[in-house]
Point group: C2
Chain length 410, copies 2
């Protein structure tokens, strides 16, 4: 009987999370691993023994290429928090039982902070109970907030979508050149870390002036100063476009989007953000009388594989492949990190890092990359982020639309 | 002294409105016309003698190709309603004065219903005052609501963006396969005509089930039936995605988005729509407790040139070119129409049609193309719309982003 492995996807999808599955699969087959299983809906589905055999989809190179072009979690995702080991041993035993049933020796989990906690908990349990199975995390998050790694697969594509769409929005907003200013407020994901909102700065190029102000959650948001800033901008130009993080908070700690209303909470206790741009647009309309428009990129910023970054796709594939290599070399309780080795030209390698340094740690935008006025990003940020959005992978168009690979529900 | 012409852009931008300017320019140069001027911000700018010389941008084929890849109105747009001739002769005289000053013999105006009214008024004035200048309308509107023409340039690209994004959203929404349903409501432009919202049906392909329900403004919207429909859908599937027009109205004639709040009005007396999806998501959350998400495509659906339809780009170019031909053949008071000549393969020609049959007439989705339950589109609609989204024009990427042509402010 051969050696088998399993890969799962967890948390919010990204445009390239499936490239990591393709990387895991391709490297495993190179190493002669027998079966590469996919968890259907992450560890939550795995607990119910819901798996699929990736040979059914990826045995041909066409399958791998289609998977790279498929948005959202091909295997299905979940938001499942592993309980404390003590008192919940049956949950862990169940996972190892399913692994043993299918001769699974390595488990790979693609995700962000919460998912890396799952890798940590499982490898801690294995270490404490003398289990030989290995656990390696594959980084994935549009939020780009994992520590140690230079950046996270998923971020580059979200950043490319944000910058591309902002260029188009800035163009659109300026088309009327009205005597009365039009203020467009664009809300971008990122609950606590402003990496995605910072990507708005990348829309500033030789043919685009970029947004007029960018507000990250790393700085306290001041409603009065915001109104003053808009008035100041509108005094000299008729089209004003402002990028704002969904997670901006005022001085008393409340999110802007929860002022005056209740906000739902998810399985991890995270508040469901939304409505920040609408709230600010209403404020501006009320205080200035200017025409306003609120735009929320919503899930498109994590799902727009049609304009994914090729750099990101390749790196997502690489971290998946290198996770398999690491496990096969005997490593466990690790996450693969991306390590920037060169700037000009940009070069990036990988290594494996202890999961305990990573799980549950959130990395924010460095303070020195935010301009002194708190409404912009420095050139250092651009030097960091620009290489991550480079390159494209042409979709396969059928019926006039990008084609995706479909998992059959069993 | 040579013969000159002028072209203007008016109303909401589209992804391909600039291809029509490229078509006007290219055909004019073929015919030996001397100067091709662009109105800066439409007829409103023209009244102030604001024009540019398109040779400055389009004299090379690279310029023309870049213009085809540039979103929003390159020349600048306006929302200017021509006043009644009687009592406002000075406005008309001013326009003819500017035309005569620059030896402009033909005027081309790219726009939708309101803009075609401008063409009608100007040609009526010319006819009444023995003026020899000619006026030809170039159709443009994402709304696809101009009569006579088979469809409108701008619609195919907006439809392609909507269907592409919906495929990605449907994928994303289904990633969690939660026990508790997730209801995603997507708001699409179209104040009175449901063509854009209908394009949501195009996302149904071999690899995508499409939205679960589609609500057009052509039918009265019933809040209670809507809630029942969502409950019925959620009983059998965990991911429910619904497309809804921003312009849906309840039985008493109010827009859904204006229930409980005031809505601003533009220069033409059109209400500024927005907030329909949020309103309906709140309703569903309140009545069912399901997790909901509201997405508005907003201006991206008219600005996303990076995923424009090549068919649309080519047809937009063609109507611009054929407007010049028509004027040069002596025609005036006309709009160029697209005439479908073949289905399989799709073929489309153009002709010139009397502007008086077109201006201020709004064409809606035929009742027989809406399914009996009022929540979907028939195969006939798909046969009509699918050819319009076919083909792509690869953007020129610089700095990792689609590059655009920039007009220099004078």
């Amino acid at each position: 009987m051969g050696k088998n492995i399993v890969v799962g996807q967890s948390g919010g999808p990204t445009a390239v999370i499936n490239s990591s599955v393709a990387g895991v699969y391709s490297q495993a087959k190179k190493l002669g691993i027998d079966k590469v299983f996919g968890m259907v809906h992450g560890i939550e589905g795995f607990l119910e023994d819901k798996i699929c055999d990736l040979d059914d989809y990826l045995a041909t190179s066409t399958g791998v290429e289609m998977l790279k072009r498929t948005p959202s979690a091909f295997l299905g995702s979940c938001r499942f928090k592993m309980p404390k080991i003590e008192g919940n041993e049956e949950v862990y035993e169940k996972i190892f039982e399913v692994m043993e049933k299918h001769d699974i020796e390595y488990l790979f989990y693609c995700g962000g902070n919460d998912s890396m906690d799952t890798v940590k908990m499982l490898s801690d349990y294995a270490a404490a109970h003398g289990k030989s199975q290995r656990f390696v995390g594959v980084p994935k998050t549009i939020d780009n907030d994992l520590p140690i790694t230079d950046h996270c697969p998923g971020y580059g594509s979200a950043a490319k979508y944000i910058a591309t769409s902002l260029k188009e929005i800035i163009r659109d907003n300026s088309s009327f050149g009205a005597k009365k200013p039009t203020i467009c407020i664009v809300e971008i994901m990122g609950r606590n870390a402003g990496w995605l909102t910072a990507a708005a700065a990348l829309s500033k190029t030789v043919d685009c002036e970029g947004p007029d102000a960018i507000y990250l959650p790393e700085r306290v948001f001041d409603m009065d100063k915001f109104v003053d800033k808009v008035k100041e901008l509108a005094a000299s130009k008729s089209s004003v476009v402002i990028a704002v993080s969904e997670g901006v908070k005022i001085a008393d700690g409340r999110y802007v989007c929860e002022i005056g209303r209740e906000v739902a909470v998810d399985a991890f206790g995270h508040k469901q953000m939304s409505g920040t741009a609408v709230k600010l647009a209403e404020l501006i309309a009320e205080k200035t009388g200017y025409k306003t428009r609120a735009i929320e990129f919503s899930t498109l910023q994590r799902a727009a594989t049609h304009i994914a970054s090729l750099t990101d796709i390749n790196e997502a594939f690489q971290v998946g492949a290198d996770a398999v290599k690491a496990a096969d070399e005997g490593k466990t309780a690790m996450m693969i990190t991306l390590d920037r080795n060169g700037e000009n030209p940009y070069q990036c390698g990988t290594s494996a890092h202890d999961i305990h340094d990573i799980a549950n740690v959130e990395r924010k935008v460095p303070d020195e990359w935010i301009t002194p006025d708190g409404c912009g990003l420095t050139d250092d940020f651009e030097r960091y982020a620009r290489p991550l959005i480079m390159g494209e992978l042409t979709p396969l168009y059928t019926d006039g639309l990008p084609a995706h690979l479909v998992r059959k529900e069993s």
